[in-house]
């Protein structure tokens, strides 16, 4: 029974990896919803499980050692775990599309841009070569690549970093997906190209009513593009709220620390930045209770460390993992 305003519902997702050293839980009971036509931001420190969450949704976990061990993911009310390989093939690109952290992992270095776009088009749509050419040019124009006819003949390495990223975005958008999962689409880019790409995603969203799950560690990007934000820490969601609320009244100590770490353009040059001390505990040593305890600088009792804090809605739309110490 999923709410019709949600295009995607992730419930208590658990994703594990079987490694030489035993089983590790990369995503440990994550839940969130992406609303139709809206952008949900996913933030959190490196290694907290953002990409693994995205791969779980798209059923792209490395096989055989990565697997979903619990919870459910439903897209427009359908359980994604139950899709057959054939159904999945039809699904990808048309229902859900993904932009990867590294453009070169998604582009084939020995094929021209034109060839790769043609393949993406033919995946779901029979077309003549004239139609393909026309459509490819139209797509590259849409992602604002100048002289698209020339670029179609070129190989990825002949393009600048920003252009490669835009080609990948064009490929992800060929079939006007209902949901776009964008994993750090702009981190490797400088501010100007970054602004172009975010603006593009934004305008396509308005044009096609697409929903977006945007993964990034740049809080400036979150502030400018998202409607709602999910904050992850060590495999779990610690806080979730509408974007204005996350920035104005963060409740969890980790979210507060994260927001205070941003160097602001109006800060005094060469003053010390606030920083969260320490680093994320290694994945094998995670405790069942509050995982931010060690870095919070606040004394936790054994019961806080051994028992998982409840995830509660403390004010309308604002959810937090309520460790009584970290959420004061």
């Amino acid at each position: 029974m999923s709410a019709p305003e949600n295009i995607l519902e992730v419930k208590d997702l658990v994703t594990v990896f079987d490694t030489d050293a035993g089983r590790v839980t990369a995503v440990d009971g994550v839940r969130f919803e992406v609303k139709r036509g809206k952008t949900l931001g996913l933030v959190g420190e490196s290694g907290c499980g953002k990409s693994v969450t995205a791969f779980s949704i798209n059923r792209l976990l490395p096989q055989p050692h990565g697997k979903i061990a619990g919870g459910s993911i439903s897209f427009e009310g359908r359980n994604l775990a139950e899709l057959s390989v054939e159904e999945l093939r039809k699904f990808r690109g048309r229902e859900i599309s993904m932009i990867f952290q590294e453009p070169m992992t998604a582009l084939n270095p020995v094929q021209t841009v034109g060839k790769q776009l043609a393949e993406a088009i033919l995946l779901h749509q029979k077309s003549s070569s004239r139609e393909i050419l026309q459509r490819s040019i139209e797509l590259l124009t849409k992602v604002r690549i100048p002289s698209p006819e020339v670029r179609l003949q070129e190989y990825p390495h002949q393009l600048s970093g920003g252009m490669r990223q835009r080609v990948m975005i064009a490929m992800a958008l060929v079939h006007k997906p209902k949901l776009l999962i964008a994993d750090e689409p702009t981190t490797a880019l400088d501010v100007t190209v970054q602004a172009q790409i975010l603006d593009l995603i934004n305008s396509l969203q308005t044009e096609m009513g697409m929903s977006v799950l945007l993964i990034t560690h740049d809080l400036g990007v979150i502030a400018e593009t998202c409607d709602e934000v999910v904050v992850m820490y060590a495999g779990r969601v610690v806080e979730r709220a509408p974007v204005a609320e996350i920035f104005s009244s963060p409740r969890h100590a980790y979210t507060q620390g994260l927001l205070q770490s941003i160097p602001k353009i109006e800060s005094v040059p060469k003053s010390r930045l606030k920083a969260i001390p320490g680093s994320v505990p290694p994945i094998e040593t995670l405790l069942p209770g509050c995982r931010f305890a060690e870095r919070s600088g606040r004394p936790h009792l054994p019961e806080h460390l051994n028992q998982r804090p409840p995830f509660i809605e403390i004010s309308p739309q604002h959810w937090v993992e309520q460790c009584p110490v970290c959420v004061a």
Binding site: G161, F247, G257, S267, P269
Partner: protein, 323 residues
């Protein structure tokens, strides 16, 4: 007197092609840059991908032989110094590289990596070097047990600290920092930036701080230089540059920064297109074809030079954009 003085520096690369791989054209990666850095100062360097920041940094630490211009360190001309003559200077000028993973040899332990500069400079006994490695790790906030591990066993932020430890090993006077935090998430980033500020205060270090994140550069720098297609187009004290940018390109860069405050969301004025190619740079103002200023053609055929428009504020004065 400034510690480092760079005058009209040029770094051109031959672009080879054809069956004979002859140099057909030149890539003017750095094309006439003049900057200086004083003792204890941080000069920030910003600009879009491909504008020549890394190339300038590498020319300054003399990993490249500059094509033209002059490099002075503590008053000494080092533009054409031989590798041998450079050895004592290498102690004083260090570089932190853009990608820590790339610059740390994966087959060496952290101890080997940190001892290497002392060995090259023939400093210390085995026991002394051991002690120094311990001190360096302590300084950058890593446990002494880190010494016997390999770089891949660390997180990105920790690897970046190893790079910093290596750079400060010989107590240099100047460090060229090439995107030292771009790959790190905010909380790790602020730890590394604080460390760099502390080391500067303690050791009187000077930095040339290269980055594409403008808020980070502003935070770290006393003065900031804006680079576009191999040239500096504006240079000013940090606060001045951010509050009173004069060149159209600087304004565009500042405008593109996403602000971490949802209540200040604004419609950005976007720069379109990529940085033009340094192989066939456009004539006149290289920014003209992107901003499409109605009068930019006036700049074609003019020599665009930096001018000091108020104390310490330099800008490339062109006919149509700087009022």
């Amino acid at each position: 007197m400034s510690l480092l003085n760079v005058e009209n520096l040029k770094m051109h690369f031959p672009v080879r092609g054809g069956i004979l791989m002859r140099a057909l054209k030149t890539c003017k990666a750095v094309d006439g840059v003049s900057i200086s850095v004083s003792q204890g100062e941080t000069l920030g360097l910003v600009g879009e991908s491909g504008c020549g920041k890394t190339t300038l940094g590498k020319a300054i630490v003399r990993l490249y032989q500059p094509t033209d211009g002059k490099l002075q360190f503590e008053g000494q001309d080092i533009t054409h110094s031989s590798q041998r003559a450079l050895r004592p200077i290498r102690r004083d000028i260090q570089m932190i590289f853009q990608d820590p993973a790339e610059s740390l040899n994966p087959r060496l332990t952290v101890r080997d990596i940190l001892e290497e500069p002392f060995l090259v400079q023939k400093q210390g006994t085995t026991a002394e070097r051991r002690q120094w490695v311990g001190e360096l790790l302590d300084k950058v906030g890593l446990a002494s047990t880190a010494a016997d591990r390999f770089p891949f066993e660390f997180s990105g932020g920790q690897r970046q600290r190893i790079g910093i430890a290596r750079a400060i090993a010989l107590k240099p006077k100047l460090i060229v920092c090439d995107e030292p935090v771009s790959a790190l998430d905010v909380s790790v980033q602020s730890q590394v930036l604080n460390l760099m500020l502390d080391l500067q205060r303690e050791m009187g270090l000077s930095y040339l701080f290269i980055a594409h994140g403008l808020s980070v550069v502003k935070h770290m720098s006393d003065r900031v230089a804006v680079m576009y297609l191999g040239k500096i187009v504006e240079l000013a004290p940090s606060e001045e540059l951010y509050h009173n940018p004069r060149h159209a390109y600087t304004k565009a860069l500042l405008d593109a920064i996403p602000v971490p405050d949802p209540s200040k969301r604004r419609a950005r004025r976007l720069l379109s297109g990529d940085v033009p190619s340094p192989i066939d740079p456009p004539k006149g103002c290289a920014f003209g074809h992107r901003m499409k200023h109605p009068k930019w053609e006036q700049s074609v055929g003019m020599e665009l030079k930096l001018e000091e428009i108020s104390p310490g504020h330099w800008v490339q004065k062109c006919p149509c954009c700087v009022d």
